[in-house]
Amino acid sequence: MSSLMNGAKMLLECLAREGVDCFFGYPGGVTLPFYDAVYDHHIRHVLVRHEENACFAAEGYARATGKVGVCCATSGPGATNLVTGLVDAMMDSIPIVALTGQVSSKLIGSDAFQEADTFGITRSCTKHNYLVKRLEDLPQVVHEAFYIAASGRPGPVLVDIPKDVFQAQGHYAPVTSIHLPGYKVFTEGHTGQIRRAAQLMWEAERPFVYAGGGIIAADASAELRELVEILDAPAVNTLMGLGGLPANHPNFVSMPGMHGSYAANMGMTHCDVLIALGVRFDDRVTGRLAAFAPHAKVIHVDIDPAEIGKNRAADVPIVGDVKRVLTRLNKVLAETRPERKERVAAARQAWWAKIRAWKAEHPLAPVTSDSEIKPQHLMTEINRLSGGQAIVCSDVGQHQMWAAQFIQFNAPRLWINSGGLGSMGFGLPSAIGAQFARPDKLVFALVGDGGFQMSIPELATIAGYGLPVKIVVMNNGYLGMVRQWQELFYNNRLSAVELDCFPDAEKLAAAYGFKGRTIDKPWELSSALEEAVREPGPYLLNVKVSPFENVYPMVPAGGAINEMVLAPPQPVAVPK
């Protein structure tokens, strides 16, 4: 039994035992006792400038490491500001523990100052949440929260703690076990189904691997690579799964879906066995479901039973941890390799010939210009500097799609973006979290001029901690993705999408005490990016790109993924 301590110290003791080395937060009235304990504790607290960004930073940390990210906010507005980040983490299955202060137990329900029903508000945007009413329960709850956040399909867990619980005195009793009789975690996968899957894979003439964020979450990159090599199957990584199979792997096709490559979408459409690993058949990947992979038998591996059959019925469903399932599956595949290898080899050769033909027919070719910087050019330059190894934290919109198309990721946990929720303002704060998690890494915050202006306050965090984040603003003066849709589907009536005022990047960065620069000429691009990377501290590079470039290929909403629009329909009229 430890010495007598208050709830605030006990919470920090729990965090320390969970291996937390830093967390992101913003103090307030009811968390005063907690922050008093934070004052001289060894765990590093990172002060952000808005609670939403505390959650995004915790996500950046979690996405870059696989560890649980921790954020903290006060009651009322502090807690409600976390909500977007929690939904974001929920959608992308990111392990987060969010700690919120609550008004004193006696005041709950009295409309006290800065009171909000955090427990009720966050019910639907967390994997689980708690309101701790007694100090005795605190250690058990906090350790449960970490366990739930990280196990099974990861997700955010919120713990709401009233001020008097922070202040109460007690002893920390180490938690020896966690008993959640209703919390089902499926890991192993059904042996019979794994055998059936192997058989189907060997029978396939045109197998296609569709690998998603589950590969990253389960740390199953090596196993995925082995599977792809055993089968010699073409493979795609979804937006959430980029880096799961290295982009420089010969079997890697590209990203599929709404802005996926022609070869990826044609491959999905024409395959006879679709091997879906840690994916959820998201609408942005499948397009019109009825026309998605119409000839394919589907093998679907996912840790969440509710994902199996949710959007597409699986012929071979396997509920389990994709790493463990693949480990066993690869073994079975190796043991059951067909005797008549020639038949498989011949079929595979024909399949690869098709894939290569699709790739050659409509490659994802970088667009460049002599007079203006094309967004695709910017991405290929970042790619050159990254060499497949830098962490790129993206915001949401056109730049996100171009980045996913043109920047290569040769390892998992390098590509960090808000996939499911598509939260603008995610890029910059998530880069803060990623840089704290990986101080050794080159971290880009790749943002649009819209999302950047949602997270400008965090420049202070970057400057204050001297984080060497390279902020690259792809500035087209528009909310580009919305404008693209208005051009294509709303008669080019550009409504509320022009961002006609943008701060002077050099002055803005200088105001925070670091370097910044604006460029708009293609010949400046590589040297400017190199200068940013060479700079030991933070750098803000504002890249003015051609304003009316749109993202292609594109599958219009409701279309089948093989019905791609490959290039602009006609020269787009530039409004006066």
Partner: protein
């Protein structure tokens, strides 16, 4: 079509909210909901009758099973189960119709729980459709007021309840706690 869901739930604050929230987030209207303690006071049994699109019924059950506080969620709509409901009816009667009301009550095996010069309070149990009929009949005698309990259901097959064993923390393993 109405779906009957039976849930075994940990008796913890917020458990009800998590389950109803799952339904309301999908804009499903709850027809009835009952909840009470089981033999184990730490657990509650819930019966929910809800209007869910047939194609999505399985998904709803799966999502419920994902909730940390839910030990078991099963769909009893098409499996062997007994479903009963209780209704309390207050019926205003005039002198002439009192014997007829009592006779009808007897046919439906309803019990008189209160009798006054104004009329009767009747208690009936049965499957929900039968209670609908009972209510219709009583209505024909005059002004009535009713309170229905909502359906409670019990499965007639023994569904194996798989509970998750405790997980030991690092401290627990170090201390060799078993």
């Amino acid at each position: 079509m109405l779906q009957i869901i039976s849930l075994l739930v940990e008796n913890k604050p917020g458990a009800l909210m998590r389950i109803t929230g799952l339904l309301s987030a999908r804009a499903y209207n709850i027809e009835s909901l009952t909840v009470a303690r089981t033999l184990d006071p730490e657990l509650s049994r819930m019966t929910i009758v809800v209007d869910v699109d047939a194609a999505l019924r399985q998904q709803v059950i799966k999502q419920m099973n994902k909730l940390v506080n839910v030990l078991q969620a099963v769909d009893l709509t098409e499996s062997p189960a007994v479903c009963r409901e209780m209704v309390l009816v207050r019926v205003r009667t005039v002198q002439e119709t009192r014997p007829a009301v009592l006779k009808e009550a007897e046919i439906f095996r309803a019990r008189v729980v209160d009798s006054s010069t104004e009329g009767f309070a009747l208690e009936a149990t049965g499957d929900p459709e039968k209670l609908d009929e009972f209510i219709d009949v009583m209505r024909s005698y005059g002004e009535i007021e009713i309170t229905r309990s909502g359906a409670v259901a019990v499965s007639l097959e023994a569904k194996k309840l798989k509970l998750q064993p405790p997980v030991f923390t690092k401290v627990g393993i170090e201390q060799g706690v078993k």
